[in-house]
Subunit: 321 residues, 3 copies
Amino acid sequence: MSSNKFFLKKNFYISKLFPKIKFSKIIEINDVKSLDKANKNDLTFFDSKKYKNLANQTKALFCITTKNLINELPKKTEKIIVNNVLSELARVTKLIYPFSDIDYPDLSLKDISKHKYKFVKYGNNVLVGKNVKIGKNSIIGSNTIIEHDVEIGKECIIGSGVIIKNTLIKDNVVIQDNTKIGQKGFGFIPSNKENFKFPHIGKVVINDNVEIATGCTIDRGSIDDTEIGENTYLDNQVHIAHNVKIGSNCMIAGQVGFAGSSIIGNKVSIGGQAGVSGHLRIGNNVKIGGGSGVVNDVEDNQVVMGYPAVSIKKFLQNKKK
Amino acid sequence: MSSNKFFLKKNFYISKLFPKIKFSKIIEINDVKSLDKANKNDLTFFDSKKYKNLANQTKALFCITTKNLINELPKKTEKIIVNNVLSELARVTKLIYPFSDIDYPDLSLKDISKHKYKFVKYGNNVLVGKNVKIGKNSIIGSNTIIEHDVEIGKECIIGSGVIIKNTLIKDNVVIQDNTKIGQKGFGFIPSNKENFKFPHIGKVVINDNVEIATGCTIDRGSIDDTEIGENTYLDNQVHIAHNVKIGSNCMIAGQVGFAGSSIIGNKVSIGGQAGVSGHLRIGNNVKIGGGSGVVNDVEDNQVVMGYPAVSIKKFLQNKKK
Amino acid sequence: MSSNKFFLKKNFYISKLFPKIKFSKIIEINDVKSLDKANKNDLTFFDSKKYKNLANQTKALFCITTKNLINELPKKTEKIIVNNVLSELARVTKLIYPFSDIDYPDLSLKDISKHKYKFVKYGNNVLVGKNVKIGKNSIIGSNTIIEHDVEIGKECIIGSGVIIKNTLIKDNVVIQDNTKIGQKGFGFIPSNKENFKFPHIGKVVINDNVEIATGCTIDRGSIDDTEIGENTYLDNQVHIAHNVKIGSNCMIAGQVGFAGSSIIGNKVSIGGQAGVSGHLRIGNNVKIGGGSGVVNDVEDNQVVMGYPAVSIKKFLQNKKK
C-alpha cells in the first residue's frame, strides 16, 4: 500500500539522491518521513537537539543531519551529513514528490452527481475529484470542491464554498462555509531570485465530532501531518499552519493563529486573536487568554496571558506596576 | 405571523419541555426569546445579575434561571430553576428548533435566473433559495449563494462568492466578495465525548447604507439577533460573533474581531486587528486603537488603547515608565 | 493609450470640475494621479508636508491642496485651494470615474472555455471577463473568477475560488485558493446619513515569482497602485490595504495586516499576526516580530517587536523591568 495517495511519487535509489555521499547499503527509498514515523526503508531528517529523543529511536535507514548531531542517531541509521538539513530535505523531497510543492488545482473534478454516492445529499455545483470517499448521511453544500482521494466520514456536514484537498475527515464532523483545508503550508528555502518552495507531502487529519467554523485555513503537513483531535471546535477565521497537532476537546476562538509544528494538548481553550508560535508544546487543560502571543512551551493546567504570554498571576502583577 | 421564518419550529407545551417542573399554567410555548424581546407566551432565560434590569421588566411567562436570581423576575413569570441555565436553554431550544444547531446547507437553491426577479442584475452561477426577496436595482455577483428566506433590499450591491443565510439586509447595502453572513456562531455546551451544539435561532440584520468589505464573517444570533447599524462600514476580514450589535456610523478596520454579545455604540471607530471581548458595552463616539484588546466596558467619548485597553492617557503613561 | 483600462472614464475640463475656481489655463483633465506619477495634463493632490519632496517635483498642471501647502508646489502647477483635500479629491474622481467607488460585479463573465486561451489549463466553472490575458502554461482552478482586463502572466498557478479584478500579475506567480485581489479598499468621507465612498481607480500589481497563500485579501490602490515585489511570499489570511507597496524577497507570515499606503522595503520578514499602521515606511532587511504592532517608520536592518513595536533590545529591557 502506498503510504501517500495524494501525491505522485517517483522511485529513487538513495545513491541517486545524494550522489556525493558514500552509502554502505544502496537501496530504493520507500518514503520521506519524520523521525518517529519513519520505517526501515525511509529517509528521515534531524536538525535540532530538541528532537534527540525521537532521533535515537528512529527506525529510518537514512537520515539527513548535521555533523554535530550524528551521535544522537542509532548506529544502524546511515547519516547523510549536510550543512543545511531543510534545504537538502526540500531538494530530495521535490525529486521524489515532484508535484507536492505547488497546489496544482485538481483538473479531474466532476459534478458530484456523476459520482453516484449513496445516501449523500448535496447542493449545486459540488465538484469532486477521483477516488473521493464520502460516508453515508453526509451533506455537502453548494460550490464546494473536494479534490482527489479526500476521505470524508459518515454523518458529516460540509458547508458551501468549502475546499478540501489532501485530507482525511472522520465521522460526524461539521465544516462551515468557506473553510479551506489541506492546502500547502508556508515553507520555502529563501533564495534571492526565486525561493525554493518546500514540498508538502503531508495531509490533514480531522477526527470525529470536530466542528470547524467559517473562513478557517488549515494547511497540510510538510513531511508530517496536521491533525485536529476529537470533539475539538474551531471558531471563524482560525489559521492553522503545517504540522500543527491539536488535541481533543479543545476550544479555539475566532481569528486565533498557530504557526507551524506546534503540538497542543487536550482540553485546551484559546481566546480570540491569540497566536501560538512555531515548534511549541502546549500541555493539557491549558487556557490561553484572548489576544495573547505564546512564544514558549506551556505546561499542563496553566493559565497564560499577554505578549509574550506568561502565567495570569504574573500578567496581573506586571499590569499593577 | 411566525416570529422566525428561517428555522422549522415544533410546538411544545411547557410541561413537555420540563417534565419535572410543576407549572401553574400549562400552555404551548410560542417562542424562545431574550428577556427584553420575549412576549407573553414566550420562554426566556436569565443567568447573570448583569441583566437584572431586563429581567424585572420581562413579559415572558416562563424563565429558565437559577435559585439565586428568582427575586429579580416579575411575579407573573414562572421560574424554571436549574443548575445550568445555558445547558437547559440549549436542550429545549434544540427540541423546539431541531435544525438550528448545525448549518445544514440549503438544498433548495436554484439558479437565480429561474426565480424571475424584476430589475435585479446578476452574474453567473448565482444560487438562490426559496422565498428569497431581492429589491429592485440590486446586483448580485457570480458564485454567490443566498439561502432561503433571506431578504435583500433595493439598490444593494452584493459581490461574488458571497454566502448569505438567515439574514435581513436593508437598502443601499454593499457587501464585497467572499463575505459570509448568517452562519451559526461559536457556542456549545462542552462534553467530553461530544459537545452539545448550541442552537442558533437568531438572524443577522444589516441596516441601510452599510458597507462590508471582503472576507468578513458575521455570525447570526443564538437566541437574539446580530445587528449592524446604518451607515457603518467594515473593512476586510472582520469577524463578528453571535449577538453582537454595532451601532450606526461606525468604522471598523481590517481584521478586527468581536466576541459574542457585545453592544457597540454609534460613531465608534476601531483600528485594525483590535479585539473586543464578549458581553461588553462600548459607548458612543469611542475610539479604539489598532491592535488593542478591549476587555471592559468603555464609556461614551473615550479613546482607549493597549491590551487590556485603557485610556490613551494611561496607555502613554505606562509606556513612559 | 488609456492610462486606466479597468474603469470607465469621463472627460472633464478642469473648470467644470471646480466651477468656483479661476484657472489660467482651461484644459481637459487627462487623469487623476499621485504627485510622483502625475503627468502634465493630470490632476493631483497634496495634503501633508510629509510628501513635500514629491510635491515640489510634480509635473501635474493642477493640484488640490490647502492654503498652507501651496509654497511647496512648483510655480507652473495651478493650486486648487480647498479646506478638505481628500473630500474634494473624492468628489471629482467620482465624476471622472463614476463606477470606481463600488465593486460592481463584472457581468461580462463567461466560462473560460468560450475564450479559447492557448496552453492554459483550467478547472470547472472558471469565469473570465472581457479582455483578460492569461499567459501560456498557466493553470486556473475551479470556481475562480477573473474579471475584465486582468492580466496574468505565464507559468502562473491560480487556485480555486480565487477572485481577481483590477490587477496585473506577472510570470510564475502562485495564488492559492480563495484569495481575493483587486477589490476596493476601505476609504470614505464620513457623513452622518450616508458616507461618501472614496473612488478607487488604482490597481494591484503582483510581480514575478510571488506566492500568495490561502484566504488573503489585497485591495487595489485608491489613486496610486498596490504592489507586491518579486519573489515575496505571503502566508494565509494576510490583509493588504490600498496603496501598500511591498518590496521584493519579503516573507509575510499568517494573519499579518497592513493598513493603507505603507511602503515596505526588500527582504523584510514579518511574523504572524503582526500589524503595520498606515502611511509608514519600513526599510530593507527589517524583521518584525510576530504579534507586533508597528506604528512608526523603521530604518533598514532593524529588528522590532512589541506594541507599539520598538527595537528588540528595548523590548527585552522593558520586559525585564
